[in-house]
Amino acid sequence: MTGVGVKQNARWGYYVTGTALAILFLFPLVWSAFASVRTDTGFGLENYDRLFNSANGVEFRHVLNSVIVSALTVGGTLFIATLGGYAFGRFKFPGRDVLFLLTLAILMVPYATILIALYVLLGRLGLEDSLIGLSLVLITFQLPFSVFMMRNSFEAVPVELEESAKVDGCTSVGTLVRIMLPAVRPGLVTVGLFAFLTSWSEFFAPLILLNSTDKFTTTLAVVNLRTASHGSIDYAALEAGVVFMAVPCLVLFAAMQRSYVRGFTSGAVKG
């Protein structure tokens, strides 16, 4: 076989393998969208109707709770990780390295093992069964990745940019807001998107930290449909719940994919 022939075969192999695998990975997603609108008689939104209107289904309240928790978590994570990343990336102060290592250590101590203590602690702080308490916990476990990411982003900004702002009489906070933040946008987008994806679909932390059904997030309410059903499970309504939960994530992911992957890869390569 000639060299060109080998090359062509390799290209064929690449496309056949890639396409087959892509179909395998996409199939469950496409199937669940299909299953969520399939009914006994054809297609319709009856499964969604049962999802939102059955006795222990998803209520507006649950969706609102998820939106509140996600907004608090994304906002809080961005605020704390930006300040922290700026401090770690641009300043020298006593205890800096210890604090940075402690922040990264959160990754090494998986939160499932300390969530019982967090349950007790939030109770003592008057934050039991509260969306704010849940958000604070979610922010904390978002911090290692986020602070690391923001530190790398700030380090990559040329120092001259910051210095010229100072010469022009910008205050420290002014420099951060007007000069630095626009420069670290890919990092901010990545951190925000990650925080949203995690908080929107987190299951274990709300399961432990939220008790009353009117505080439930959408994830808990959808899983509750499965748990509450002894005997036969309403699979079609569950798939409607899956699609309802996944759509915001997929839309955001598609809209921000460029900065997301760029932020992710640049952060990881440098580490």
Partner: protein, 313 residues
């Protein structure tokens, strides 16, 4: 840690010109500490305090409702005889080994497939990564329906191919099929994510190393074994740590997909902790198991780091 730090080490310490060097430096340190304060508060309050608290709780009889009372080491002494805990520990380790091997092989294969820029590679990368956008609990529910007999396509497809005959309950029929269901779900959900991390490692290898190997006449397997794998070691270590830690703490997939069954055969360690705390209402005993699990993870990570450091030096 990064190239920018090493190339410009002095700049960050340079004080602003309008003040004397020492007060300027001190002021700048103060400003930096102020920016780091929120991080310090969060790490202290919601990480270090609960870490200490879980140890303290494990030394007490700590009912969900009612007053705690010191009772060490009662929460630990029962652990060796706990039948469910023992089977859960064994199952969790078994699951971790299976997932780590399979996920690593699949993700590495995917990363090698899409490592070069070619037409269509963006689509493939996105397709493999897309399941990550579905939350893990949602993905577990998705597979609950996907693998079900009632609406799922899997049984129909396999019986059409003549591989199975009639009714098959994948998620609850037998311990093996329940485990296989969870493994399939985790592979689907996390392969693309793991691929992305491995991809960054692949891209960090300088192209001229491959160039030199080609000039020396190395074949594809030699290049992979002698260049790609050794140079990927830090990335591989990161991926293995993430995978083992994640699998040892498995919860969502078993809680939702298999409910720990059949006959507790897929009950993981974290499920046992949850049951102790919120079904048997004994937080102290749950804390005891947590501390043992935490200690095991620390030892495991320490060993992994030591092995890694020895190899890379």
């Amino acid at each position: 840690m990064s190239t920018t730090t090493t190339s410009r080490p002095t700049v960050r310490d340079t004080p602003p010109r309008q003040t004397t060097p020492r007060t300027g430096r001190r002021l700048r340190a103060l400003v930096g500490a102020a920016y780091a304060a929120p991080t310090a508060v969060m790490v202290g309050l919601f990480f270090l305090v609960p870490l200490a608290l879980v140890v303290w709780m494990s030394l007490n009889r700590w009912p969900l409702l009612g007053k705690p009372k010191f009772n060490a080491p009662a929460n630990y002494s029962g652990i060796p005889e706990d039948e469910l805990l023992r089977s859960a520990a064994w199952f969790t380790v078994k699951y971790t080994v299976i997932i780590t091997v399979l996920l690593f092989v699949v993700a590495f294969g995917l990363a090698l497939l899409v490592q070069h820029r070619r037409p269509g590679v963006g689509f493939f990368r996105t397709a493999f990564f897309l399941p990550m956008a579905v939350g893990f609990a949602s993905a577990s529910l998705l597979f609950l329906g996907f693998l079900s007999d009632e609406i799922g396509p899997v049984t129909d497809l396999l019986s059409w191919l003549g591989l199975v005959d009639g009714y098959v309950s994948w998620t609850s029929g037998s311990p093996d099929s329940a485990l296989a269901s969870a493994v399939l779900l985790v592979l689907w959900r996390f392969a693309g994510f793991t691929m992305l991390i491995l991809l960054t490692g692949l891209h960090a290898i300088p192209p001229d190393v491959y160039e030199a190997a080609r000039v020396d006449g190395a074949n594809r397997w030699q290049t992979f074994g002698r260049i790609t794998l050794p140079l990927m070691r830090p990335t591989i270590a990161l991926v293995l740590t993430l995978m083992t830690t994640g699998s040892l703490l498995a919860f969502d997939q078993f809680w939702i997909l298999t409910r720990g069954g059949p006959d507790n055969s897929t009950t993981s360690l974290v499920m046992v902790i949850y049951r102790e705390a919120f079904v048997r209402l004994d937080l102290g005993s749950a804390a005891g198991i947590s501390v043992v699990l935490l200690a095991a993870l620390l030892v495991f990570n320490a060993i992994q780091f030591r092995v890694l450091r020895r190899r890379s030096s």
